[in-house]
Amino acid sequence: MGKNFLILVLILPFPVFSTVVVKAMDCPDQFEGRVKAIIEPVGSTHVFSVNKVIFENHRLLKGNVKDEVTLDVLQNGPFQIESQKDYRVQLRNGKVCWIDEL
């Protein structure tokens, strides 16, 4: 009895932490692609530095996305983009909603 109780107590916390669901953001255009090139700004007049990131669209997930997409990505912002890496990109009107590394 005591042993069973101990096992129950040890196991109980696990499902509490494992019942995790990640809700995806849902923007109209989504694709998975590879970064072909990153063009850093020269003499930018923008408030924040923005890189031009060129993605090759490898897999369209949703909406209408060209084979090659150029996006403005904030340099010191939420996404650290590296060349030749694969990402899942979500867009609306050509602007980034979210980028996840694959």
């Binding site: 669901v21 809700k23 904030l74 010191n76 912002g77 996404f79 602007k95 909603c97």
Partner: protein, 251 residues
């Protein structure tokens, strides 16, 4: 009891949903705590409103963790919280889905500057109900402040650090607290040991470098760096066990 305590923490340690930003994992940290922030806003009414909500957000983190993490000053800091009515053209991000963004810069091994930009035109902050606007803005500030310390998006959708706005907001989740305690203790440890990330002075790096909210990956640093990080984790782990025992004794 000790075995139970150890196993509980062993299991829960690997099962938290919180994540640390890649940069924080790479060894960058604030040189001193609390981190001073100012509200940058010309409109005095909005400034006072933002200040009040920011103070509430800071207090919430600090009350729950017991740490002094941020200090909201009137001036004397380059760390800024501000309202933007031009969010999309400033950040180039989608104004319909993105509520705010935290921008951070590094200088050597340290996080040197941070800026929280609120998307002032977002419908979540402009409903006809001021209580809803306040709650959404307050939740957003709690979330963005977490980013400034090195917390990334949590995989636990109940956490305030999850990527989606929570409405109604029910307060910080244990996952958020575990994440903040981890980040704070690692920061403290790095400060004490004067840790310098092997990536801090790479010749090809500029003085400011991108910080990310991206998922964490292992760092390929030198042995000393890895050892420091491992020691930091061990110290954090021991402290967690200690805090758990304290909670049990309180009950």
């Amino acid at each position: 009891m000790l075995i139970r305590c150890f196993l509980f923490y062993f299991i829960s340690f690997s099962a938290w949903g919180y994540q640390l930003t890649q940069d924080f994992v790479n060894g960058f940290y604030w040189a001193s705590l609390p981190v001073k922030f100012i509200i940058s806003e010309n409109d005095p009414v909005r400034k006072s409103f933002l200040k009040k909500l920011s103070e509430t957000a800071i207090k919430e983190w600090e009350k729950e963790t017991g740490f002094s993490i941020w200090d909201l000053s009137l001036e004397g800091s380059t760390n800024i919280i501000r309202w933007s009515t031009n969010f999309s053209s400033e950040t180039r991000m989608d104004p319909e889905s993105v509520l705010a963004v935290a921008i951070r810069y590094t200088d050597g091994p340290y996080i040197a500057k941070s800026e929280i930009i609120i998307n002032g035109s977002h419908p979540a902050f402009n409903t006809p109900y001021s209580s809803v606007n306040n709650m959404n803005l307050s939740t957003t500030l709690v979330h963005e402040l977490g980013h400034t310390m090195g917390l990334d998006h949590s995989e636990n959708e109940l956490a305030v650090m999850a990527p989606n706005l929570q409405y109604p907001y029910n307060g910080l989740h244990s996952d958020d607290l575990a994440g903040m305690i981890d980040v704070y203790e690692q920061t403290e440890y790095r400060q004490i040991t004067r840790y310098v990330s092997p990536l801090a002075y790479k010749p090809e790096k500029k003085s400011t470098q991108p910080f990310s909210c991206g998922t964490t990956t292992a760092q390929h640093g030198g042995t000393q760096g890895v050892l420091s990080l491992v020691s930091g984790v061990v110290v954090a782990f021991i402290r967690r066990i200690f805090m758990y025992w304290k909670k049990i004794f309180k009950r």
